[in-house]
Amino acid sequence: MANTLRLYLTCIRNTMEAAMCLQNFPCQEVERHNKPEVELKTSPELLMNPVLICRNEAEKCLVETSINSLRVSIKVKQSDELENILTKKFLRFLSMRAEAFQVLRRKPVQGYDISFLFTNYHCEDMHKHKLIDFVMQFMEDIDKEISELKLSVNTRGHLVATEFLKQFI
C-alpha cells in the first residue's frame, strides 16, 4: 500500500519535472496580451498531450502542459461520505485563499478536488524543484490532514452525544 503511494508520487514528480519547461509566450490572437495557454486551449500547436496518472479507481492526477503554463489537478482519496464533505470543505477553504499560495487555482478543474496552475513567471521567480517539492509535500500532507479532521469530528460528536444523552439517564 505504502509502496504504491511512493511509486505514484515518484511518477508524478518525474512527469512534472519533464513537463515544467515553460517559457514566455505572448498571446497570438490578441496583441499585448499574455495568457496561460493551457487554460484557453485556443491553439493546438502550443499544447502538449495531457497525461492522466491513476493510482487506483479513486485517486488520480491530471498533468496538462503547454508552452507557457502547466496545470496539475489532483483527485484525493475519499473513502466515505464524511471524508467527502471534509475534503470538499477543506480544499475549498484553501482554494478561496489561492492568492496567498500563488500557484493554486481558484476553482478546481471539473472532476478533480484541487488544481495548481504554474506559469513561466512562477518558474522565473521561484526554483523549479522547489515548486515540485511543494506539490509533493501537499499531496503527502493532505491525507494526514483529512484523517486528523475526521478523527476530531468523530471525537467531538462522541463527546457531544455523551453529554446530551446524560440528561436522559
Binding site: T4, L7, Y8, T10, C11, N14, T15, E17, A18, A19, C21, P44, E45, L47, M48, N49, V51, L52, I53, C54, R55, N56, E57, K60, T65
Partner: protein, 153 residues
C-alpha cells in the same frame, strides 16, 4: 502497401508527414490490414506468453506499433496486445535490459495509456515500470511522449 499519390509535407518544426492523396476507402483498407496484422501478432504473443517469455512478447507487441493511423480501433487493438504482455512481466530490470533503447519512447507512451485506465493492477504494474524506465531513459523520454502529438498510441 502501394501509395498511389504521396506528398511529403513539412510540418511547422520541420518534421515530415507523409500524406496520402487517396480517398477514405484506402485508409479503411489500411486500417483493416493493420488490424489483421495486429491479430496475427497477438496470437504469436499468446504463444510466447504460454512459454513464459513475457519479455519477448512485450518486444513483439511494441515492434509493430502503428503510430501513424488515426483509427482508434488499430490503436485499441495494439493496446490490448501490449497490455497482455505488460501484465505478464515480473522482472522489470531484466526486461528493460533486454529491450533496445529505440523502444523506450513507445513503451513510455503505452505506460501513460495504462496509467490513464484507472484499473488497479494495471496502474500498479505501470507505476513500477515507469519508475525504472525513467531511471534508465531519463526525463527526455517522458518529455518526448508528452510533446509528440502526431504519433500517439
Amino acid at each position: 502497401m502501394l501509395f498511389t499519390q504521396c506528398s511529403i509535407v513539412r510540418g511547422k518544426w520541420g518534421d515530415c508527414e507523409l500524406r496520402m492523396a487517396g480517398d477514405g476507402s484506402q485508409e479503411a483498407d489500411n486500417a483493416e490490414a493493420i488490424i489483421s496484422r495486429i491479430e496475427q501478432k497477438s496470437q504469436k504473443i499468446e504463444t510466447l506468453l504460454k512459454q513464459s517469455k513475457p519479455v519477448e512478447a512485450l518486444k513483439m507487441a511494441l515492434e509493430g506499433s502503428p503510430p501513424n493511423t488515426k483509427d482508434e480501433r488499430c490503436k485499441s487493438a495494439n493496446w490490448i496486445a501490449v497490455h497482455r504482455a505488460l501484465m505478464a512481466v515480473r522482472d522489470v530490470d531484466g526486461m528493460l535490459a533486454y529491450l533496445d533503447p529505440e523502444y523506450y519512447d513507445i513503451l513510455m507512451k503505452y505506460l501513460y495509456r495504462g496509467l490513464s485506465t484507472g484499473d488497479r493492477p494495471t496502474c500498479e504494474q505501470c507505476l513500477k515500470i515507469h519508475e525504472k524506465l525513467t531511471d534508465k531513459a531519463g526525463p527526455g523520454c517522458i518529455l518526448r511522449s508528452l510533446a509528440d502529438t502526431v504519433n500517439t498510441v
